[in-house]
């Protein structure tokens, strides 16, 4: 156990010894170790100096004046007599052209032909303007205006026209009502006409015929009874036979008269129908005449025509009526004729009876038989008469119905006409009412509107005429311009033709050929240079762009050093400071005139500006640092310490007044002998220890 304690103490002792040795070594070499951990800095003292601002740039030498060789037409090059870099004299031939017509001449000729064609076309297209449509419109508007004015003037008569139209409507309505009433009456008559009981005369004739038939039948029967016996005298028989013959003759006359009377009656009916129609037409004409007279708008000619129409129709109706009347009176005899015929028949019958009796009296049974036969014949006659009477009844009835129907048709036609007249009168009334609706104010308004339209038309016509005049003038101007164009083109052609004779292109000035851009066989292009000549007698120029800040450092007439030429007589001088069109507001173009032994195209390196400004404190650019607190420099300050001299980097805020490529002039809290840190092998912060190179 004691051995173990010694072992432990021994271990601790060894550890302490090693620790102390290490500490000693570290202390011994502490300075060195610390030095190596510090950043190494290079420094120099601030000093007064000059800040020189020189502007440098390179530029290519160009001739002051360059002449370009042009041809104004397209020609073929025959030969080129020079090459790049050749020196030429004024008047020396450079190009020889082929002796042919140029493309420009052909083109110019074509252009001239086109211009002439256009001019001719323009001449033909000028036409005189026409205003027929406008005039027609104005004429119509004038007519409308007159119409409107006459309408306005008629307004006062319209009220009367309305009243007369109303009266005409009333009168037409009355006519219609009357005709309707007549129609009803005729309808009633028609139904009455169908009733047999109305035909008294005919019925009487039928009754008479029937009684005669009955009597004849009775006699026949009596005779038949007396067939067996009877006696008649010859004289009586002869007398009776004569009576009978005369009666039969008289009967024949009566029957003939009766037939005539029947025919007359038939004619009378048709005349009556004609009369009724004529009467209806006359009534309608009267109504029309009344309406015209009451309307107040009808002309006198119309009224006269209507009056004449009415009078003629009225006269015709009267004539028809008188004719009818005369025929009708003869028809009235029919009844008495019928009575006479009946009476005659009765008489004949009586005579016959007497004759028969007489014959019977004188005769034998054969005469009685003859009587009987004649009575039988009489019976047949009576039957025939009865039949005739019945037929007559039917005929009269039919005729009466036919008459009434005719009257009904006529009345219907009249009613239709009257209705038409009523409708016309109503239309006229409506028209009169609508016309009456137009007041004086409205009529005046209409007139104003038409007048305005007319005025607008006049104005439009005037404007159109003005515009057409202007067009014509413009067309004339255009034609004048075209004529001028044609003349110009003719001059151009003359010009070109005059130049065609030139086949050699000569140099205008002496100089050096800068470039030839065409070869033999090429066609020239008008406006495109075929070559350029540097006119050396005008001198050389070099231009290069500079910034605004650089331009501020330079003045005109400043000497420019040519840095890439030695042992030369070349000299350069600033002759102009111009605005840079490629960089407006941000740059300038410096123009330098170069004289001496230089060539066009030579690259020269210029340095301009010799002015230097003296400053009290100038430091290298690498000494100037910057952070968010501004620009500063780090200076080396020495401090004594127990371990020796220590160097500390201290910050001094400065302001840079001017600088060039290598140095900057600074101002700040500086005394003029500060040791400024320019570079270091590690980043250095203010307040850090640094070491200087050994």
């Amino acid at each position: 156990m004691a051995k173990e304690g010694v072992k432990k103490r021994g271990w601790v002792k060894n550890a302490i010894i090693i620790f102390l040795i290490i500490m000693l070594l570290l202390t011994f070499f502490s300075n060195t170790i610390m030095n190596y951990s510090l950043p190494e800095v290079a420094a120099q003292y601030t000093q007064p100096g000059t800040i020189t601002t020189k502007v440098r740039s390179s530029a290519t030498v160009e001739a002051n004046q360059r002449f370009e060789i042009f041809v104004d037409e397209t020609r073929v090059i025959k030969s080129v007599n020079v090459k790049n870099g050749d020196a030429i004299e004024a008047g020396q031939t450079i190009f020889v052209l082929e002796d042919t017509e140029s493309n420009e001449l052909a083109t110019a000729q074509r252009t001239l032909d086109e211009l002439n064609l256009a001019y001719e076309k323009a001449l033909l297209s000028i036409a005189d303007p026409s205003y027929a449509q406008e005039n027609q419109t104005i004429k119509e508007l004038k007519e409308d205006l007159n119409e409107a004015i006459s309408q306005r003037d008629k307004i006062s008569g319209r009220k009367e026209a309305l009243d007369s139209a109303k009266k005409a409507v009333k009168s037409a309505q009355k006519t219609v009502d009357n005709l309707s009433a007549n129609l009803e009456t005729l309808q009633q008559d028609l139904s009455d006409a169908s009733d047999d009981s109305k035909y008294i005369n005919e019925l009487y004739a039928i009754t008479a015929a029937e009684s005669a038939l009955s009597a004849a039948e009775q006699r026949r029967d009596a005779i038949q009874q007396e067939v067996s016996s009877s006696e008649t005298s010859d004289n009586e028989i002869l007398q009776l036979e004569r009576n009978l013959e005369s009666l039969q003759l008289e009967l024949q006359y009566l029957q003939k008269d009766f037939q005539n009377a029947q025919m007359a009656q038939n004619n009378a009916s048709s005349l009556y129908a004609n009369y009724m129609q004529l009467k209806g037409n006359a009534d309608a004409a009267k109504t029309t005449l009344d309406a015209l007279m009451f309307s107040g708008t009808a002309s006198e000619a119309e009224i006269a025509a209507a009056t004449a129409n009415y009078e003629s129709l009225s006269a015709a109706a009267d004539a028809a009526y008188s004719e009818y009347n005369s025929l009708n009176s003869s028809a009235g005899d029919i009844t008495s004729l019928q009575h006479q015929i009946d009476k005659m028949n009765i008489q004949i019958r009586q005579v016959r009876e007497d004759l028969d009796i007489a014959r019977l009296k004188t005769g034998s049974s054969s005469s009685l038989k003859a009587q009987l036969e004649s009575v039988k014949y009489e019976v047949e006659n009576c039957k025939t008469q009865l039949q005739n009477a019945k037929n007559n009844l039917q005929t009269v009835k039919n005729q009466s119905i036919s008459n009434i129907r005719t009257q009904i048709d006529t009345t219907n036609a009249q009613l239709k006409a009257a209705n038409q007249s009523l409708a016309d009168a109503r239309d006229k009334q409506t028209e009169a009412e609508s016309e009456n609706a137009l007041t004086i104010e409205q009529a005046n308004e209409q007139i104003k509107t038409i007048q305005r339209n007319l005025q607008d038309q006049y104005i439009a016509l005037a404007e159109k005429q003005d515009s057409d005049d202007l067009k014509l003038k413009l067309e004339e101007l255009y034609l004048d311009a075209q004529r001028a164009e044609i003349e110009k083109q003719e001059k151009i052609i003359a010009d070109i033709k005059s130049k065609t004779s030139e086949t050699e292109i000569k140099a205008k000035y002496a100089g050096i050929i800068n470039s030839i851009s065409t070869v033999a066989g090429d066609s020239t292009t008008p406006g495109t240079p075929m070559g350029t000549i540097d006119v050396i007698e005008k001198g050389y120029t070099a231009t290069f762009p500079v910034t605004i800040e650089q331009a501020k450092m330079i003045r005109v007439d400043d000497k420019a050093e040519i840095e890439n030429m030695w042992y030369t007589n070349a000299e350069a001088k600033v002759t102009a400071i111009k605005n840079d069109p490629a960089n407006p507001g941000k740059g300038k173009i410096l123009e330098i005139t170069v004289t001496g032994d230089v060539t066009v195209g030579q690259q020269l390196y210029f340095s301009i500006g010799e002015r230097g400004i003296q400053y009290d404190t100038v430091v290298p650019n690498s000494a100037v640092r910057e952070d968010n607190n501004g620009k500063f420099i780090l200076i080396v300050e020495s401090r004594n310490s127990p371990l020796g001299t220590r160097y500390v980097a201290s910050r001094v805020d400065v302001e840079v007044k001017a600088s060039d490529d290598n140095f900057s002039a600074v101002t700040g809290n500086l005394y003029g002998y500060e040791f400024v840190i320019t570079t270091s092998n590690k980043p250095v912060q203010a307040g850090e220890l640094v070491r200087l190179p050994e």
Binding site: T53, V55, S57, M553, D627, N628, S659, D661, T679
Partner: protein, 352 residues
Amino acid sequence: MEERRIFRRGTYIYLALSLLFLIAAACLYGVILFKGSSLQSQTGAERWSQDSRFSQISVFLSSDAVLREDSLLDINKGLERKLKEASALPSEGTGRAYVLSYSSETQLNISSNKADVQTNVVITGGDFFKFHPMKLLSGYYFTESDLNYDRIVIDDNLAWQLYGSYDVDGMKVYIAEKPFIIAAVVKSDYNIVSKEIYGDKPRAYISFDAMQIILESETYVTCFEAILPEPINGFGIGAVKEIISSDEKLIEYVQNTGRYSFITLLRKLGNMSTLSARKTNVIPPYWENDARILDIRLAIILFFSLMSTLIPLSFIVFLLISVFRRRKIYFNDIKRIASEKFERISQNRKGK
């Protein structure tokens, strides 16, 4: 006397392993912190200000987005307006509130009297070199405020090929027969993650003015960078997204500040499978590709760092369980002691 051990031997080994893994995790995390803060193209905001909050934002565009140098004036105005609205503009007399830079890439033939070299050329504008400080072997950068814009910064590879030396600032080179003055020579593979990304070809830097005025060639901006005040989280990138916009396939936005923070790397670890997928038509410049490679590397390191903390964490849990199991005081004892104390106190009060 027997030795008294608090824990078994295995526990001590477990403890030692946990300490080891904890140290490893801390070292790995330290590597993340160190690497993340050492890539200078991502730490512009930290360099610009140590006492105020700033953030560095990058916008990468496809050339199809057609962002011309002329448009940058409008972008500048837009940013000023945004900062003014947020009251983030500084008072007069102090420094600038924000810094801008824009660039593009192309290939040009750069020649001297001795050689003619095909070169990757970065066309720069604004304060490009503040965002991408390089190790200067000679000379100094050109700036936008220089009077002449015929200055060029070349890397050591190109300087060697053209002149056979690094001390060539002030000498001439030619691009399309136009002379340019060498302003500085910089180290080629300085502060880069992957030399393959930088490439074997030499690299040079010229200004947009030189490209447009001297070489008379229009170039579109493909990279826009800004250091903006960050009064609240996400202000800077939000403002930039609003002012510079294009089709989503033609533009990418990156917040450089805090790119390698714990949370950001953890998110990237979660999206590891899609990190390398190309979702747009943008071809980022070499420094952004460099930063993306570092994204992946640091995410992997974070993964191992987190894995390394598992064992120490499990040991702590185990320790707590053991201590709890071996406790001598139980809950009833605590209750009893507490109630005795309470009785004593109440008796004392009654006595008073």
